[in-house]
Symmetry: C2
DNA sequence: TGATATATTATTGTTAACAATATTTAACTC
DNA sequence: GAGTTAAATATTGTTAACAATAATATATCA
């Protein structure tokens, strides 16, 4: 994998970008697996690609390392992280705990204005689904979870959830090779909102947990397939 | 507050320190309120105090900003953070959710070897309390929570809890002026371990929540005192 | 004096050159 | 050819000088 493939424009005219731009672009390249796990991220190369100084790249790489998308080793630079299956499990387990806490807050809040906002989110999602627009539906379904966190009004939980959401695609990627349809099922989102509106924390939390487990199981199922493939290979020797 | 007071040795012979050393020392100075919230952290000054290059200080300051102990503003440098009461509330609420999740894992695990390790932690704590050694007891009581997270084996939850624990003293400091006895009550720790051993998640979680709420209330009680003091002042005008 | 503009200084931000380290290549031995 | 050492190269890490910005002090004028 050559790193210059992450620039979609002609590389002869490097676009001068700010630090945040570079960050977003590299992050996107990682999540689109144009930069697969393990890829070495060389500073001068990246600096040339984005038309920035090496110092900028350096800062971006440490920021990416903070969010675990990149691993930095002393004197050996940075590469795209290859999170373990354990990390994936931990990430999902933590996510269930955090989203449960968020729902608890929302139920206790019992704010009608808030419920209106949630309904709007659902409608936008549904429209995208009905149009069959998957490119649009995926980000919207992720956004549903983010907005739930924001509306709960706990900045710490919100940060934590965003951290998890940022890391999740790479974990999936590392063990499946592609970020296949892990979009949320819209009717479950609707069920969650209904339960919150009804003030039923247990139900809302239950649906959310099933919802998240569903996504997680899609992944671990395929991981097991991978493992059995490997077992078959070993036995055929 | 002069920054050079954070070096306990004679400042004439600056001790050469590694980046992590500097980080720890500044962090400790913040948590000991030798550097109170709002204190400007000037790069050259800090570099001289610790006998390191400005670049080192720069990296340390961004790391501290990542853990919210320090705030960085473009072209205006870094200062010790002054977290809001809301942030304090959010931090405690998030902590309850996370420690509950940790307990759930531990209960489900039901590992006798693990329970032995928890008992050892309790004993060490109890010894320190019986000796009346508060200087020792406080870190041990914090460590109990950290170890619980570690033993649960979820690296994400462990990181999140450590993040919260790191930020908590500054929040308390910012609204009380001193990190007064917020040590945990040891018998509650014992109750938590007992309930985990008995496989009673609800009970363990309940005690933990009460335990954390107790610490939180100590703080908000005093904050309200502050507020009423202010109200009295305003009325006396 | 008090307010505003200007110069001075202090502080943060950036960069290009250098140093240190790791990686690759080539040369050599067996 | 496999393995080992040594040179050459590539890559990361550090630094000191410079640039840009903000904060402070001084001067000017009503």
């Amino acid at each position: 994998m050559r790193i210059d493939t992450i620039e979609t424009r002609a590389p002869t005219a490097p676009v001068s970008s700010t630090e945040d731009d570079v960050l977003r672009q590299i992050e996107q390249a990682v999540l689109d697996h144009r930069l697969p796990p393990g890829t070495k991220l060389k500073e001068v190369q990246l600096a040339e690609v984005f038309g920035v100084k090496r110092g900028t790249i350096r800062k971006v790489l440490t920021r990416l390392a903070n969010s675990r998308l990149v691993v930095q080793l002393p004197n050996r630079g940075a590469s795209v992280a290859s999170p373990s299956v354990e990390e994936g499990r931990d990430l999902f387990a933590a996510r269930r705990a955090i989203e449960s806490a968020i729902i608890e807050i929302l139920v206790r809040r019992n704010d009608p204005a808030l419920m209106g906002q949630l309904r709007t989110l659902l409608e936008n999602e549904q429209k995208a689904y009905q149009l069959g627009d998957h490119k649009l539906a995926l980000p919207l379904s992720v956004d549903f979870h983010r907005q739930l966190a924001k509306l709960a009004g706990n900045s710490v939980l919100e940060e934590f959830l965003n951290d998890i959401i940022r890391r999740t695609p790479l974990v999936i990627l590392s063990h499946l090779g592609s970020d296949s349809e892990n979009a949320c099922r819209n009717h479950e989102h609707e069920g969650i909102v209904d339960a919150i509106a009804a003030g039923d924390f247990n139900k809302a939390s239950l649906i959310m947990n099933e919802h998240l487990l569903h996504i997680e199981n899609q992944i671990s199922d395929k991981t097991e397939e991978h493992q059995s493939d490997l077992a078959a290979l070993l036995l055929s020797n």
